[in-house]
């Protein structure tokens, strides 16, 4: 597929093809455009350093990239800032984001990730949004939605499985 080839042969095109979906994911989880921009930079740097380890058999390049973004985001939310480990390893300069950059991030906030989520059935979309993006516990979601915790778990699980299949189909 195109982004797999770009990942190997033209990383800048891979970056441009996937920037929005990474930013969209990061800003949805952090609700902080500046943190999301820092996370995107570190995610792509980490992907560049690790691209030889990517195996298409394990899923699409975009899913692999979002896996890196998810890991970096969790780490950043725990610490309160993004570690620039991969960027430092690559000798990359730190970028100071301008108001325009942050406005750009904010402008795509409801975009790419919602497009991916929108293809899920309503109950699964709400469950995945609440659990993965808003980081609510199963019990909290069950209370709000008025269904059992087991039902919420099932919806999240099915929704995530559908997302995995969807991301593997790319390109978007």
């Amino acid at each position: 597929m195109e982004t797999e080839r770009e990942l190997r042969e033209d990383f800048e095109r891979f970056y441009r093809a996937n920037l929005k979906v990474v930013l969209s994911y990061c800003v949805a989880r952090t609700r902080d455009p500046e943190l999301a921009a820092d996370l995107a930079a570190e995610t792509f740097a980490a992907a560049l350093t690790a691209r030889d380890g990517y195996a298409p058999a394990q899923g699409s390049a975009r899913r692999w990239l979002l896996g890196i973004a998810a890991h970096k985001t969790s780490d950043a939310l725990r610490r309160g800032h993004v570690q620039r480990r991969a960027q430092r390893q690559l000798g990359m300069a730190e970028i100071t984001w301008s108001e325009d950059d942050l406005a750009y991030v904010t402008s795509i906030e409801p975009g790419s990730l919602d497009l991916v989520l929108a293809e899920l059935p309503e109950d699964q979309r709400r469950a995945v949004q609440a659990h993965v993006v808003d980081e609510l516990g199963y019990g909290e979601i069950a209370q709000v939605t008025g269904v059992s915790e087991q039902t919420v778990r099932k919806r999240v699980s099915r929704g995530l499985a559908a997302l995995r299949r969807q991301l593997d189909q790319e390109p978007r």
């Binding site: 609700r31 350093t49 480990r85 000798g91």
Partner: protein, 233 residues
């Protein structure tokens, strides 16, 4: 795409070229020694990297250090010399609760309500000729930080934390020895005086990093809902 993300693309391209040159290097060198040395070095580096990746050792060690021992000397804030800041006394804290889930931690050091992407604007009340917005400050135990009102805003905004009273404090720092014995957070009350409702910019500095934040005071920042109840103006 904006300038910053174009710059990121260029940085990644430059890094990619350097990686490719690095990968080709052994083939372009002559002699057994020149070939073996880089391979041995990269094998050691790969082994170290594998250990770090598998155990997460580097990152976790840093976190533990931050929580248990306080910041190292290298984590001193880079801006605003110490003598120009006002030290927030640890004894003026009012609790050890963690920040609410909806409020994100900034630079691993503190949390403040009123940011546009997290909550409504803060409510203000009339205090003489000015407005006062009461707020809270959550500080991670043992972490050093500065909270700065940019000079351009100081005529319109002052802040106060702890028992500082009249808040002529454009630059507030935490005592690095301020830590809770068995909790990760220490809490302070305080707030902001403003002449008029505003979307204020503040700067947080901690661990060599700087972040600009916005706080809606009496009125929402762009995209932010106004205060829950009508504010006095």
């Amino acid at each position: 795409m904006t300038h910053g993300f174009d710059q990121l693309a260029r940085e990644l391209s430059g890094a990619e070229r350097r990686l490719e040159v690095g990968a080709r290097r052994p083939h372009t060198l002559h002699g057994l020694r020149a070939l073996v040395l880089p391979l041995a070095t990269s094998a050691v580096a790969a082994a170290v990297l594998a250990v770090v990746l598998l155990t997460g050792a580097g990152g976790r060690r840093a976190t533990t250090h931050l929580r248990n021992s306080g910041p190292s000397s290298s984590s001193a804030p880079p801006a605003a010399p110490r003598q120009h800041g006002w030290m927030l006394p640890c004894g003026q804290s009012v609790g050890t609760q963690p920040p609410p889930r909806a409020i994100h931690v900034l630079l691993g050091a503190l949390a403040l309500p009123g940011r546009p992407d997290e909550s409504r604007a803060l409510q203000t009340g009339r205090d003489g000729a000015r407005l006062f917005a009461k707020s809270g400050l959550w500080v991670r135990s043992g972490v050093r930080f500065q909270l700065i009102v940019p000079p351009a805003v100081r005529e319109r905004l002052t802040m106060t934390w702890g028992n500082a009273g009249e808040g002529n404090h454009g630059n507030v720092m935490i005592d690095p020895a301020c830590r809770a014995a068995s909790a990760r957070w220490v809490n302070f009350v305080g707030g902001y005086w403003v002449r008029h409702p505003m979307c204020a910019t503040l700067i947080v500095v901690s661990d060599g990093r700087r972040r600009r934040i916005r706080i809606g005071i009496g009125t929402g920042c762009p995209g932010q809902p106004g205060p829950a109840a009508p504010s006095q103006r």
